[in-house]
């Protein structure tokens, strides 16, 4: 049995609080007697009489004494216990006011200290500062905000690299982390295919197809569209690849991007190879033959093919890059219904990558094609508001969303373009996308039904058939439910395909060489 005495200088506590502390300390294992008191002469005498004080301590009445009797080994824990009780942050008083609602990252982190991701959609001029704060606080960042300068993006991504974190974005619309869809994303089965994509709808297409083919997604990491530019160097894609390399759940990796600058592509593919995992690469529009060849790298020519190849790899099968399936009989049947004047295709997209994929697939096949997601062979239209001939328009482009909600959320602008297309006697096919998932409209079917019925009615009155060709990008677990949307659109006479690539192939087969 030994004694221990701790002196806390000038720590006034009232006697009731100290009696409570004494009682609590005495209950600790290995402590036989404990007393916490202010060091007044009277209290010192009490301690001496209780056998808790060997010698008179060098303490003043304003000092707090903690006197312990018991096993020496128990003292340290008891004192820690006492300090904790004395430092207790306290409550807000029995019926006191509620804590203030959080209004800032500072307060949010106070209330949720284990936060590990900041999802930032504040106006662009403030987004950089919020992202930097989140990174410095040890969080990963998904930056949905746009209007972040290239210089700021580079600075944030260098900081993230230094801190071992990732910045998804800016202008990153889609991610799925630990099965949680972020911003515009679909509810996909969890599994072992990890995706990194510079394109939001590209990631959505790949992940929903993986889900539909019966496999699952480990993580889908967005990088934002500028990440693979030479000035950024693919820092986020590299961070994403590193994360998937370390992630034991991920067995196959899919990379989606427009073709990067040559040295960026080299760095990305080197990183991909270093994962030791099979990697499916869809550099939209790049010629695989001109890209580095490696047994781990598998080039896919469409988003759908990327999903199919990843699924094959996960199942231990040989991946093969396949052209999109086409129901030739359906296409030729549709051709026979067209009037003599009907020769043109109008693509009305809400997903930029879908529009771009269509542009790539139709370039060369449709003479005079214009697209506002232009390629080397397909020019942009002079006026996106007034198009003639074969055309593909991404209505999610800045030109249309300035001061307006995105067409995945608000279908009105696109609906107007449907009516305009139906009124044009030259139009044979309207090609479009229907995007489900979190972030998107709660029911595209309801948002488009009246418009599609009117398109039908207008065509009928004019004695024409206008073919509607589309894909539904979604899963049955999405809030809108893929199957229900599919059935509804099918009932409205929309020719539906499994993927955007198949929709483009079908549309091409209907209008090509007319």
């Amino acid at each position: 049995m030994s004694l221990h005495l701790a002196i806390l200088r000038n720590q006034y506590r009232d006697s009731v609080a100290l009696m409570q502390l004494s009682a609590a300390l005495a209950k600790l294992e290995g402590i036989t007697q404990a007393s916490a008191v202010m060091a007044t002469p009277a209290n010192l005498e009490l301690l001496t009489r209780a056998g808790l004080l060997a010698d008179a301590p060098d303490a003043a009445p304003n000092d707090l004494l903690i006197a312990l009797q018991g096993d020496e080994g128990a003292f340290e824990a008891a004192l820690a216990n006492a300090r904790q009780a004395l430092d207790a942050k306290g409550g807000k008083g029995g019926s006191g006011p509620a804590a203030l609602p959080a209004n800032s990252l500072t307060m949010a982190l106070e209330r949720q200290p284990d936060s590990n991701l900041a999802l930032i959609s504040v106006p662009g001029q403030y987004a950089t500062a919020e992202a930097e704060k989140a990174l410095r606080a040890g969080l990963n960042v998904m930056l949905f905000s746009d209007n972040v300068s290239g210089a700021d993006e580079r600075r944030l991504k260098l900081l993230a690299t230094e801190l071992g974190r990732i910045v998804m974005g800016p202008d990153c619309g889609t991610a799925i982390i630990h099965g949680v869809p972020l911003a515009f994303a679909n509810v996909c089965r969890q599994g072992s295919i990890g995706c990194v994509g510079a394109s939001g709808t590209g990631l959505q297409q790949v992940t929903v197809l993986i889900d539909r083919l019966g496999e699952g997604v480990s993580q889908a990491i967005g990088t934002g569209g500028h990440d693979l530019h030479a000035s950024i160097g693919g820092l986020s894609m590299l961070a994403g690849i590193r994360a998937l390399k370390e992630d034991e759940t991920t067995r196959v990796i899919v990379l989606v991007s427009k073709p990067p600058a040559e040295d960026v592509a080299r760095a990305v593919l080197d990183a991909a190879i270093s994962t030791g995992k099979p990697v499916v690469v869809n550099f939209l529009g790049a010629d695989p033959a001109r890209l580095p060849q490696h047994p781990q790298l598998h080039y896919a020519s469409t988003l759908q093919s990327a999903a199919q190849m990843a699924v094959a790899l996960v199942r231990g099968q040989r991946p093969a890059d396949q052209a999109p399936a086409l129901d030739a009989a359906l296409a030729s049947g549709a051709r026979t219904l067209l009037g003599a004047q009907q020769r043109q295709l109008r693509g009305l997209y809400s997903g930029g990558t879908f529009c771009y994929e269509a542009t790539l697939m139709l370039g060369g096949a449709l003479p005079g094609l214009h697209s506002n997601t232009p390629t080397a062979s397909v020019p942009a239209p002079d006026d996106v508001w007034e198009v003639r001939g074969h055309s593909l328009i991404d209505l999610g482009d800045d030109e249309f969303t300035r001061g307006r909600p995105h067409p995945m959320i608000d279908h009105r602008l696109r609906n107007e373009r449907f009516i305009a297309a139906a009124a044009d006697p030259a139009v044979a096919v309207i090609l479009f996308d229907i995007v489900l998932g979190f972030g998107a409209h709660e029911s595209p079917l309801e948002a488009m039904r009246d418009t599609l019925l009117e398109v039908r009615a207008m065509a009928r009155e004019a004695g024409r058939t206008v073919h509607l060709v589309a894909t539904v990008c979604g899963t049955n677990a999405d809030p809108q439910n893929y199957a229900r949307q599919w059935e509804g659109f099918a009932e409205l006479g929309v020719m539906l395909t499994a993927s955007n690539a198949e929709a483009v192939a079908l549309a091409r087969a209907i209008v090509a060489d007319l």
Binding site: N10, Q11, Y12, D14, N62, L86, A88, K89, G90, G91, K92, G93, S95, G96, P97, L100, P101, A102, N103, S104, L105, T106, M107, A108, Q112, D114, S115, N116, L117, L119, S121, V122, P123, Q125, Y126, T128, A129, E130, E132, K133, A134, R136, A137, F144, G164, I177, H178, G179, V180, P181, L182, A183, S218, A239, A243, E246, T249, T250, F438, G439
Partner: protein
């Protein structure tokens, strides 16, 4: 993905609320603050804040500054004359409250108090002559806080005035404050009539020596335990000091009674202190200043180590930015006015007494003193709310100062300028209100907040010191 994204997603959602709802339904932990642009939307200040946010150097510096603040052990150790005691005090110098200010810019009460001090020192024989001398540039005017000194309201201290000497036994530095004259017509509110000057002379010639002998005989009085006890008795030791003054008297009276001096001297001294519920305020301020001096001068620290107002400007200093003041126009105080006065009569916020809030008491300890919120027509629960809100902008809670109404939690202490700017929650200040004209005195009391602009400037300056 245990390395990059942890085992479970815990999201802070800044911006669109629908993103939070979606992630939440899919099983993530999500917190959605009602985000507003920090720093009132000033992008540069926001970026300065970002560069300092959880920066390891700032964190370490703040820990060092805050630990020194907590460790400080101020004791009232004696009385002395300003010229003899205060480092850097000049024979023709007058100290004032708040950040530096030139004579021509000063508010009415401060000019009045300076005229009074000049008359008190015998440097001029009429108020007009005193005014001329003050304008002449022959008298140096410097902030009290440039000299480890604090003074309430005008904070006017001239060379022969008596000062409390407070010693931080942990760090060894001294701090000073003048003596509280009571309410009504007093120098600190700008009055300089004969009765004011006579009282000051009595305090210098009779009261201070008596107190000096008494304090010497008891070997000093530790101030933190006394303040802590007063917080349990309804004071917040800024705007309410009734309990603290009583506790002080309990220690002083036996010591005074034992002095070998004329009984009438003893009686007058005890009477004077007893009659002034604010007597302890100046000691509270000197104690707070001592705690904060301990935290000064740590490179990189965003801890606020000084606040003060001169009736025109409100100023703050950070530990990491040295002697620089960051100033903004002094705010108007919202409060209750004595009968016959209104907000039209009020001077803007004035005095060094905001040093108490800087040290975690005063407005920060309002939960201890529900009586105070009645100045702004508030309820007792408002007092708790103010003390709780201050936790959002401080480095910690001071275990030496506990608040019974908040389950004996320590008061929020160590203002972090970064948290102030990010949350937009401004330090709350309990204060008296001076009449805008010299010599009228106190016209009310109430609650105000430090101006945000001071913190914006301070953060930008601190960020410049951290930038690589």
């Amino acid at each position: 993905m245990s390395t990059l994204f942890g085992d479970k997603l815990a999201i802070v959602n800044l911006g669109l609320a629908s993103f939070a709802d979606a992630a939440h339904t899919q099983g993530a932990d999500v917190i959605h603050p009602e985000w507003q642009p920090p720093a009132a939307g000033e992008r540069d200040t926001g970026l300065a804040l970002a560069s300092l946010f959880q920066h390891p150097k700032v964190e370490a510096a703040n820990q060092q500054a805050y630990t020194a603040y907590l460790a400080s052990q101020p004791a009232w150790v004696g009385m002395d004359r300003a010229l003899a005691a205060i480092p850097g005090m000049g024979a023709r110098m007058i100290l004032h409250s708040g950040p530096p200010i030139a004579w021509g810019e000063m508010c009415g009460p401060v000019q009045g108090a300076i005229i009074g001090a000049i008359l008190f020192e015998g440097w001029a024989d009429s108020p007009a002559a005193a005014r001329t001398l003050a304008q002449s540039g022959e008298i140096a005017f410097e902030p009290c806080q440039h000299h480890h000194t604090v003074g309430p309201m005008g904070g006017i201290i001239s060379p022969s005035m008596p000062v409390f000497v407070v010693c931080d036994s942990e760090h060894g530095h001294l701090t000073f404050s003048n003596m509280n004259e009571g309410l009504g017509k007093v120098l600190r509110f700008g009055a300089y009539s004969d009765d004011v000057l006579e009282r000051l002379a009595w305090m210098r010639d009779e009261l201070a020596p008596v107190l000096g002998l008494a304090i010497a005989s008891v070997g000093g009085i530790e101030l933190k335990p006394l303040m802590a006890q007063a917080l349990h008795m309804g004071d917040e030791v800024h705007n309410r000091n009734a309990a603290a003054t009583g506790l002080l008297l309990k220690k002083l009276v036996p010591a005074i009674l034992r002095l070998d001096i004329d009984a009438e001297l003893k009686a007058r001294a005890i009477e004077f202190v007893s009659a002034n519920d604010h007597f302890f305020l100046n000691l509270s301020m000197a104690a707070c200043k001592a705690m904060l001096v301990a935290a000064e001068g740590i490179p990189g620290s965003s801890m606020v180590t000084a606040m003060g107002r001169n009736g025109v400007e409100f100023g703050i200093r950070l530990s990491g930015t040295g002697d620089t003041w960051f100033t903004a126009p002094a705010p108007v105080v919202h409060g209750l006015f004595f009968s016959g006065y209104s907000a039209d009569d009020a001077a803007p916020d004035l005095g060094d007494s905001v040093i108490t809030e800087t040290a975690g008491v005063g407005g920060f300890a309002m939960a201890a003193s529900p009586a105070i919120v009645r100045f702004v027509g508030g309820a007792a629960s408002d007092a708790l709310a103010h003390s709780l809100a201050m936790r959002e902008i401080t480095l910690g809670q001071n275990p030496a100062f506990t608040l019974p109404a908040l389950d004996f939690a320590g008061t929020a202490a160590g203002i972090d300028a970064r948290k102030v700017v990010d949350t937009g929650i401004m330090p709350v200040i309990n204060t008296g209100i001076a009449h805008k004209e010299a010599g009228v005195g106190q016209v009310g009391a109430g609650i105000t907040h430090a101006p945000a602009e001071c913190f914006h400037q301070a953060l930008r300056a601190l960020a410049a010191t951290i930038a690589d």
